[in-house]
């Protein structure tokens, strides 16, 4: 199927700023759906609030644009009520780990078959550049004019600690890697958490003197390295990319089917 069949052309142009990394993730998502030959009516996207959440409007899936932080909780109900749906949950960093932090760790723990994509631009973009739990110390934001003093989360470690069964990370620079990791995430049975570092030149880049989209993506190229690579071994301060965990564990919907069977005994 042509890629354009996976989008709702009627609703373009999109609302993202020039240079925003979110479109790159959307592009990879469409390629993944196409590569796997996924039927549109079997696809569902549930999103929260923020720049990343707007992805759900542009894909020709069943789409539920919910509340700030609540996408995973809504998706959990939706998936349990209709387990045949293939459910994607794109979230921003604030969306997933601040206001939605509780839903995030519990969705990981529950191991329900959802594909959670955290588009981590380390800033609240929609509201104009406030620091998030992913910004980290020393970052300048509109709510941290004298530099941020908050320690950041590490989404990969958070997901691993909460029990997610597929955890991966890549960046908006590594376009093919996004598609390849997304493909693995979709095929994984259980919760998949894919963190994608995405540039926000408008708010993060400008405030923190990281330059425009191109310069920010070059930082992703230079400051990250694949897991197990010589580059990472030589320089452990680089941000590792790749699959951190991929393991089989009982999936929630399948386990619930067993509850039904036991209840009827």
């Amino acid at each position: 199927m042509a890629l354009k069949n996976y989008i709702r052309e009627r609703f373009f142009p999109h609302i993202w700023c020039p240079g925003c990394g979110h479109g790159i993730v959307l592009n990879a998502l469409l390629h993944t759906a196409d590569t796997l030959g996924l039927e549109r009516s079997s696809l569902c996207m549930v999103s929260g609030i923020g720049c990343s959440a707007r992805i759900s409007g542009y894909v020709d899936f069943h789409s539920m644009h919910t509340m700030h932080g609540r996408a995973l909780a809504c998706a959990t109900g939706l998936k349990l009520a209709r387990p045949s749906l293939n459910v994607f949950v794109p979230m921003g960093d604030g969306d997933a780990t601040a206001i939605g932090g509780n839903h995030f760790i519990h969705a990981c723990r529950r191991n329900i078959d959802l594909t959670a994509i955290v588009l981590n631009n380390r800033i609240y973009g929609m509201t104009g550049g406030q620091f998030s739990p992913l910004s980290g110390r020393g970052i300048v934001a509109t709510t941290a004019p004298y530099k941020n003093i908050d320690e950041p989360f590490d989404i990969v470690n958070l997901a691993l600690g909460a029990g997610a069964t597929f955890v991966a990370r890549t960046t908006a620079f590594h376009v093919r890697e996004i598609a390849s990791l997304l493909k693995q995430a979709v095929q994984h049975k259980g919760i998949s958490v894919l963190e994608v570092l995405v540039q926000c030149p408008t708010y993060f880049g400008r405030k923190n003197k990281e330059g425009g989209a191109v310069e920010m993506m070059e930082l992703y190229r230079d400051h990250t390295a694949p897991l197990g690579s010589a580059k990472l071994a030589e320089n452990p301060s680089l941000i590792p990319r790749g699959v951190f965990r991929s393991e089989e564990r009982p999936e929630y919907c399948e386990e619930y089917a067993k509850v039904i069977a036991r209840a009827k005994e």
């Binding site: 569902c44 644009h65 919910t66 109900g77 009520a81 760790i105 039904i260």
Partner: protein, 400 residues
């Protein structure tokens, strides 16, 4: 001679069935569970909270036996969100809570109002504010059910004063949520939730059950999920069905896509409010006792109405012209009903366990608001017939 009449019930009794009656002796909370299952509930998401927990416990046991989903979520917010998601996937979905949890659910209740998601929220009231009196009765959440979530909106709130009524109003609640595609709040209280009484579960088919109205638009044809029919109803297509569309909490157009177009925004907000407020007369449910010639009319609801009824029956037997209006629809407020029923009353007494949340509404509805008196009790104890009698004697000039 007890009930002089019962408020109309458009759902009504569909047909008489002949099977042996299913009679039980159960709590109000269990009657709510039975009513929900009767109405076709197949998804429940909840979080433990006193005094509503029995609803979750019973459904954890009963739903899987009927291929339904029970999930205990990580919090009250998540429960309400899961209900919204499940309802879009086609489920008849419910959650149950009490005051503190109800506060947390307000965000997603607003989402359900905006996105027109049919669902049912049970609030078994306890004393508030805050943690309040977890095991004691109160009726302080009446205004919160109406205005708890932000922004102009409308919502349907039903209540009941007996175990049997809880069963029947729960079925009604599901029906109304389907017809108007709106969240419906079942506002009970600790006393009716926990008291045990006889419940007769009617055979399936005796009470009418409204199922979701599905669109007849075929696959491949443009389906407009948010284009109301002439009668205001929105035929739906489930997530997973042939029509793929967007659902959002933002103001949206007929495709469900976000819009800031002033005309579309104006049209939507009026649709959301009018679909319920313009049908207040259709949505009014009540029970009435001895109202025809009553000089003194008590208006009450929930557990308070039981004390009121005890007093009314006692005084009637002594020849007093006194009657009771037991409200079952609190919102949209049945102002017209109250104006009509109290037209010839000398005094109106509103009995409720709060500082006068329904009393204020009654004063606005009646012709002579200065003849409306509040009888309340706020100490966690059930308002008694004696409490009511004391206020009445004072008003009537008969002293204490």
């Amino acid at each position: 001679m007890k009930a002089a009449g019962t408020g109309k019930s458009p759902g009504g009794r569909a047909k008489k069935a002949s099977a042996a009656p299913d009679v039980r002796f159960v709590q109000g909370n269990e009657a709510c569970v039975q009513g929900a299952l009767y109405a076709g509930l197949n998804f429940f998401a909840g979080y433990p909270i006193t005094p509503s927990t029995e609803i979750a416990e019973h459904l954890a046991e009963l739903l899987p036996r009927k291929d339904g989903v029970f999930i205990q979520m990580e919090d009250e917010i998540g429960s309400m969100c899961a209900v919204c998601g499940a309802a879009l996937a086609g489920a008849k979905a419910m959650t149950a809570t009490s005051g503190p949890g109800f506060s947390l659910k307000q965000e997603a209740i607003g989402y359900a109002c905006m996105a027109e998601i049919p669902c049912v929220i049970v609030n078994v009231q306890r004393g508030g504010p805050s943690t309040g009196l977890p095991t004691k009765v109160a009726q302080g959440d009446v205004m919160q059910t109406r205005w708890g979530t932000h922004g102009d909106h409308s919502i349907v709130v039903l209540t009941a004063s007996s175990v049997q009524d809880i069963f029947e109003i729960t079925v009604e609640g599901f029906n109304i949520s389907e017809i108007y595609r709106t969240p419906v709040v079942l506002l009970f209280d600790e006393v009716v939730g926990h008291m045990r009484e006889r419940l007769i579960v009617p055979p399936q088919g005796e009470l009418s059950v409204v199922d979701r109205l599905y669109t007849e638009v075929k696959a491949g044809v443009n389906y407009h999920p948010y284009l109301p029919r002439e009668d205001g109803r929105l035929p739906v297509s489930d997530f997973g069905g042939v029509h793929r569309y967007n659902v959002t909490g933002l103001f949206h157009d007929i495709f469900g896509f976000p819009t800031e177009n002033p005309d579309q925004v104006n049209k939507l907000i009026h649709h959301l409010v009018d679909k319920i407020e313009n049908r207040a007369h259709l949505l009014a449910r009540w029970k009435e006792y001895h109202l025809e010639d009553a000089e003194h009319i008590i208006i009450s609801y929930g557990a308070s109405a039981r004390s009121a009824r005890h007093l009314v029956e006692g005084r009637r037997s002594k020849g007093d012209r006194i009657g009771l209006l037991d409200l079952q629809t609190l919102w949209p407020f049945p102002a017209q009903l109250i104006r009509e029923k109290t037209a010839h009353a000398k005094n109106v007494f509103v009995v409720e366990m709060n500082m006068g949340q329904i009393t204020t509404q009654v004063k606005q509805a009646v012709v002579t608001p200065n003849r409306v008196f509040l009888v309340n009790r706020m100490d966690g104890m059930l308002v008694t017939p004696t409490d009511i009698g004391t206020v009445m004697r004072t008003v009537e000039g008969r002293g204490f």
